[in-house]
Amino acid sequence: MTSRASHLAVATFAGTPFVRRKERNEMVAKCFFGMMAAAMIVPLILIVGYIVVQGWPLLSWEFLTTNPRGGGVRGGVWSALIGTLYLVGFSLLISAPIGVLAAVYLNEYARDNWFTRVVNLAVVNLAGVPSIVHGLFGLGAFVYFANLNEGKKSIIAAALTLAVMTLPVIIASTKEALSSVPVSFREACWNVGATRWQTIWRIVLPNSISGILTGVILQVSRTAGETAPVMLTGVTTWKMIESTGWLLYHPVKDQCMALSMHLYYIATQASGAPKALPFAIATVLVGAVVLVNATAIIFRIYLRSRKKW
């Protein structure tokens, strides 16, 4: 007893060599992980910075609003920019409502049976299919089989292809957002006799809308950047539209240009293009995506601010 008491009295909380080793490991781990996190930012800054700096001499309002001339090596990117906006816009117009509603069904209504499991499995696998495969599917299904433009490529075929490609990802991200709403909220609703729809409309959707939007927004950048699927189904290297006025009529049964395809063409096929041109096109592409994302984020903030809390 006495020895124990004296032992207590001399407690100094001094670190042993083992403790010091643990502390050192802790430091090393922290630095290592921190460096990895920083390593993510560095390429982003380098790539975007390099592109913008290289493309800077050519960037101007003119560059955006004039059509390419002289085989693409002179002039701007107007037709390609509009083509990309059309493709992204139409594909999201198709895939966002279908994807969100399908996810609502899968998450809120579907019982856990073999059918639901097969659908969920299909969603996951479809999300992993390479985009060129989607392109080939679109070519077969929308260009040749559905014959939307007499066997030729069209904006609508490309938009449908992009929609098929983004659909599973939108479903997956929407489901994620919906299932982050606690089950207790749903139970509270059911137990006062709310139908599933009333529960979804009044409680589940308002509490998951920003997550759903985030998932949809992320698909904007993905669809804008895709080249392979649209190349096969609706995008061509040379198809001008008039650059007059803001109310644009671009027949959806026609083909169009797209920034991603234009960039590929200029960088690899066109001879005599100024060195800054591909970088300028890339800057416009990145800028367009950032702009759309920013708009969506502002919309999200607006939705949140409408709630009183």
Binding site: A188, W190, N191, V192, A194, T195, R202, K308
Partner: protein, 273 residues
Amino acid sequence: MSTASLAKPQPQEGSPTMAGPPHGITTRDLCLWYAKFQALKNITVRIRHGIITSLIGPSGCGKTTFLRCLNRVNERYGYVTTQGEIQIHGKNIYDADVSLIELRKQVGMVFQRPNPLPISIYENVVFGLRIHNEKKASRSELDAAVEKSLTEVGLWNDLKDRLQARATSLQLEQQQKLCIARLLPLKPDLILMDEPCSSLDVEGTRAIEELMRELRGRYTIVIVTHNMAQARRASDECIFMLLGELVEHSRTEDLFLSPKDSKTADYIEGRYG
């Protein structure tokens, strides 16, 4: 329609525990399986109208399952099968013509963790009215319902000046009272409580028990509790369940003072559970 047959009988005057009051809930040979596991075994019980009945028993004895049968909320999960009969005010709630929406309107439930909806206090209370009224209720009707319900649960004086505050920002005890208040505008016959005090402190528990006593007589209350002392304090009748079976059902004081079954006696003396 089921509405008519589930209509509330006239409340009896005088002490509801005396002989005579109608039976609020009658079950016959109620069995329930979670997939292959049988959670309820031939439960036959009559629960009186207008009093507080407590369900006690060790974890996993099926008391919560039984409670969740009474508004058929168990069926939300696909692997549940139910057999037997539950009559509420003489109507078998498993009949084909029973609307789950009407049933749950009249059989409200309060949960272990208070679960106010992430909307304002006001909207929480009128939520039921909003989803059940065919035409939009007028502002004054809603205001009246809020005042009445919050007064009934004793929250009106504390909250009347901040009805637009977010319900989830209230203290737990107030949240739980609000969850009870949320049921009242629908004029339920039956209030089911699943361990309503288990996330509350001593004061909160006392407040909820007092509230139960206030509501007694107007509503049939069935409460699941882990806390034997609470069952003893707060209920008129008591049901002891074990391994999915109903072991004993009698007046609370009889059950605790002179249990008929030796398993009940062992449980209330704390030999297991």
